[in-house]
Subunit: 113 residues, 2 copies
DNA sequence: TCCATGGTTCAAAGATTATAGAAATATAAA
DNA sequence: TTTATATTTCTATAATCTTTGAACCATGGA
């Protein structure tokens, strides 16, 4: 994972609303949630939510699909795992503590490649 | 780890200079590096560096100690591991993928508690 | 004590990000 | 086609973050 992407992903998660959104989507799994449902659940006004979703999507941490008149968002587990891999290898003990962490959670619920 | 602390830590790392600084300190290990050395190595002006170090220290990602007339900074592995633990448990697969990740790198080079 | 070196704080300017109502767009039901 | 619903884009404002020179403080050697 490139440094720029890492910084972008970290920045996307470094905001209370967005971290909450992402956690909610992770809990929900691949089926995802509509924008309205997220908005309602977390009490974030639609236009603000849209702003944050764009940020998360830009960091490739979430994907969206249109479903009838709803837009469904879901977490990108792959990206999150790549981020965790980078942090573990580069920001944990210097010499990569590879043995485990990096790919533990990968492949559990991969939605889209 | 509290949400606020998580957001603070993520924000501290979500900036190119600071991520570079932190990575450098992780590589260096508990012995740490002086402000001047970091400044020189990464080509960051002293006053800018000081600003970023304060940010990292506030997130408890680094500690500093005075050593003669130098200020030595070192990475806080403990905090980084806590952050990784939070992200793994809350932002990886929803139901925590505990088996590994969380504490793999802990205890390798813990400097100060 | 005086000077040199290492670092931080101050201050001011610029850049980026966040917030949220209002308007616009899209889908689908009546 | 009109209407209602779901979501995004636009716009303006506010807030926060970044950058860095200059001034200041601390430590140690001459």
């Amino acid at each position: 994972m490139e440094i720029k992407s890492v910084v972008t992903a970290l920045a996307a998660l470094a905001q209370e609303s967005r971290l909450a959104i992402f956690r909610l989507l992770v809990q929900t799994g691949p089926e995802g949630l509509s924008a309205g449902k997220i908005s309602e659940t977390l009490g974030i006004p639609p236009s603000s939510l849209s702003f944050h979703m764009k940020e998360l999507a830009h960091a490739d941490l979430v994907s969206s699909r249109q479903e009838s008149r709803y837009v469904i968002y879901s977490a990108n587990f792959r990206t999150m795992n790549e981020l965790l891999g980078f942090l573990t290898e580069n920001c944990c003990s210097g010499k990569p503590c590879k043995p485990t962490a990096t790919s533990d959670c990968a492949g559990i619920e991969e939605t889209q490649a």
